[in-house]
Symmetry: C2
Subunit: 324 residues, 2 copies
């Protein structure tokens, strides 16, 4: 059983990463106004958030730039138009997906870029490709994290092997990514232990990126903090694909380090996130996502259910559980 | 760390109690239609729920029957109009609040009543009054549980003393009630351990009634199951005061005992709970409840904020945290 002190005290090593533009961008195809992004940036600075992720470095060969907002591609000049020289304590992150980005050409040397951190997102079966991207980014001078997605469907033996491979790269942080929102806190405790074991061996940190299908995103993040996980993803109002993520306003309210100021998060949610909802952008916990979470499935069918405006939840559950 | 088997297997001792009419009644002043209550009853029977709580046995001296629906008072004949002889496996429960009911006169002998279980609700400082109510109900032939409310504000030493007093009564179950939705899963694990220690000494069971202020109602309930807590409260769509409760559809989806049939819960939420929302009845997670949960406060100011249709969350947080 954990010690009470872990809830009462704080670890200075904890880092909070705002993924609103990146995971939230999956909801609105990355169409955020510059006004929104600037306010988000200023909020993160004031609230004491450590990293702000602007979006993906997606391939402009594979994806049509006409079909997405600019944060799908995160050109350095677009980031610079928001942050200038970024003379703040807030660091800038972008995500690069294995197989979906032209990292050799699109990620510039660190000294030419406003970006501080490259997060490589991978599935368990594409770890060698992720390792190549990590080397590339580290060689260019970046801090690098690696997000292992859909971890609830990976076998422990595969996870151990993946972490051993990553441990030998210059990555600084291994991320547990509960893409399907299927993990219970007691499973998260076991997962964190497994990650931390290899992380400590190689001098790495562990992070968590949670989804809210079972209303466990915050619970799992709080659990992971108690287990020794240091890097914490959150998004304002929990905006993110499907059921969304751990809400920044909950996380900052929970963390005890006085540098975090939850008040600014409340302000931003009240004024800016509510506007997005009023515009008809839909995310967050609902039965269809809970069902895919319970069943440890990708939420794509639940997202389609939402898009189609369906409300026949019981029938949807029958569809999901048809075994023929 | 808990064993994997606790999530994979099931304990036959687990009991699920539907508190929709009772905690949900706090949202709509207990005005449920007979049609709704009959459908709820049939759903509980089909879904394998163990107990259905119809509401409170509130004093008709203290409360004006004109101002509330009938489930605030749960007259035996009103229950019988729904369940007849209740020739099912579903047992019937009502709640009696310390200081708010005329239990000596209003609770009839068990053999004259459709009720199986009396749940005595108490704060930590009214345990002796609760003990008297427990004796009365047990003498009349009922199974009795005791719900200790606002447990997040009680000292461990007070809780231990309270449980020692209750241990010596004929109560069958001690309930951990997180009235303010302020407890994190790792605190719940410690709380459950404390309750279970005394429960085992006196041959009692432990229950959990969670609130969703921090989106922890389900997480805490799942945590408690893993810790050895057997009695689990839930409400359909999480309907309950303020941020609401652990959702029945999540709980039944989580529990592994094949007697529980989550499909009927989905059907009921889709058809009946949605209707209540469409009628303008409001409950569930929102920022104002999250704030009172974070601050370990009674939600009354958050409920007023909701009733007044306020949306100025940041200012509300300032009001809650004013120390002058």
């Amino acid at each position: 059983m954990k010690e009470i002190s872990k809830l009462m005290d704080f670890r200075p090593d904890i880092k909070v990463l705002d993924a609103t533009l990146r995971d939230g961008g999956l909801v609105n195809d990355f169409y955020f106004t510059d006004d929104f992004v600037k306010k988000l940036y200023r909020t993160n600075v004031k609230a004491g958030v450590d990293y702000m992720e602007f979006g993906y470095k997606a391939s402009r060969e594979l994806f049509d730039a006409e079909e997405y907002g600019k944060w799908k591609f995160c050109k350095d000049e677009d980031i610079r138009a928001i942050v200038g020289e970024n003379n703040t304590d807030l660091k800038i992150s972008v995500m690069a997906d294995v197989g979906r980005c032209d990292y050799k050409t699109d990620i510039l040397p660190r000294e030419e870029s406003p970006i501080d951190l490259i997060r490589v997102a991978t599935y368990i079966h594409t770890i060698p490709a992720a390792a190549d991207m990590i080397m590339d980014a580290a060689d260019k001078g970046y801090e690098v994290a690696c997000n292992i997605m859909a971890i609830s469907q990976a076998k422990e033996s595969s996870i151990r092997t993946a972490l051993e491979i990553l441990g030998q790269t210059p990555v600084s942080t291994f991320y547990i990514v509960d893409s399907y929102g299927s993990i219970y806190p007691e499973e998260m405790a076991r997962m964190a232990d497994m990650f931390l074991e290899t992380a400590e061996k190689y001098g790495k940190k562990v992070g968590i990126h949670a989804h809210n299908n079972l209303q466990m995103a915050f619970a799992n993040t709080a659990e992971a903090v108690g287990d020794g996980v240091d890097w914490l993803d959150a998004t304002y109002a929990g905006m993110g694909r499907g059921a969304g993520n751990c809400a920044m306003e909950m996380l900052l309210g929970f963390l005890k380090n006085p540098k975090y100021k939850v008040y600014y998060a409340f302000q931003f949610v009240e004024s800016e996130m509510q506007k997005l909802r009023d515009e008809g952008i839909v995310w967050g916990y609902d039965l269809q996502y809970m069902m895919t979470g319970l069943l440890n499935q990708h939420p794509r069918e639940a997202i389609a259910f939402t898009k189609d405006g369906r409300k026949d939840y019981a029938r949807f559950y029958q569809e999901l559980t048809r075994l023929d």
